[in-house]
Symmetry: C2
Subunit: 152 residues, 2 copies
């Protein structure tokens, strides 16, 4: 939608950075990307967590329990209104254990999550995460995420 604007591109880069930090398991980098307070997160299937302490602790827990995770983002939609940006996207997640001894990939599992991420323009002009809400897609052809026809 507004993806062609400079703001839109900066927001999309901030959104990508959020997932990159989780992929790398880099909690310090992740913490830098968020607003200082009044933040909230919902991980798929989890209750709401609010405040920097709870949010960062949840990511530390997820990182500690994840050997490998990769996000392929699709359907990324960015809307900027004033100093706030809303991003919706589909997280096509590949996660699994460490590589086998012979170098081949360990067992991998896929997952489909949709996310609404809210960003706020910071004083230095950069964009910081205000809220992340991810939820599992439970209906309509999880095997065919490209088919999103809603016939009502």
């Amino acid at each position: 939608m507004s993806g062609a604007t400079a703001d839109g591109e900066a927001v999309e880069a901030a959104n990508t950075a959020l997932y990159d930090a989780v992929e790398r398991g880099d909690l310090d980098a992740l913490a830098e990307l968020w607003l200082d307070d009044e933040i909230s997160v919902v991980h798929p299937g989890w209750p709401v967590l609010t405040g920097r302490g709870e949010v960062m602790r949840s990511y530390a827990l997820i990182m500690a329990n994840t050997d490998y995770i990769q996000f392929f983002l699709t359907d990324v939609e960015v809307t900027v209104l004033g100093d706030t940006a809303l991003v919706s996207c589909t997280e096509n997640i590949l996660s699994g254990g460490p590589a086998e001894e012979d170098g081949s990939a360990g067992p991998l599992v896929g997952g489909l999550v949709v996310a609404t991420n809210v960003f706020r323009r910071a004083e230095d002009g950069g964009w910081k995460v205000w809220s992340h809400h991810g939820s599992p897609v439970l209906v309509e052809g999880e095997d065919e995420p490209d088919e999103e026809d809603i016939e009502g």
Copy 2:
């Protein structure tokens, strides 16, 4: 958090109105509460729907398939930054069929959903819904939603 301010109270009222409209099955009232465009919604377990057409059609579908629904909102947290407000809340949902012939209530089922709702200040000073994201709570004592201890 910011719930004690006038803005916070107005946002909380707008948030309540959103659920009231769904409870009443009043699609016209619901449509009035949203921004005109660039809106998005995620219903629990659904993919992302964007744009007024898709969003309103999804609510029409939900209303057509729901005989009775009531939302008891808890853990409502409102944060206002400039012209944007972020609300997180827990939707304790009671839904079911129509009343029995003898006047007693029909079979009821409960559900627990967490939501992140984003509001935008409109030109007339009111608050309009920009995004609603609801997701099922699948982990941690669904029977005891008050217990949210995360021990990491």
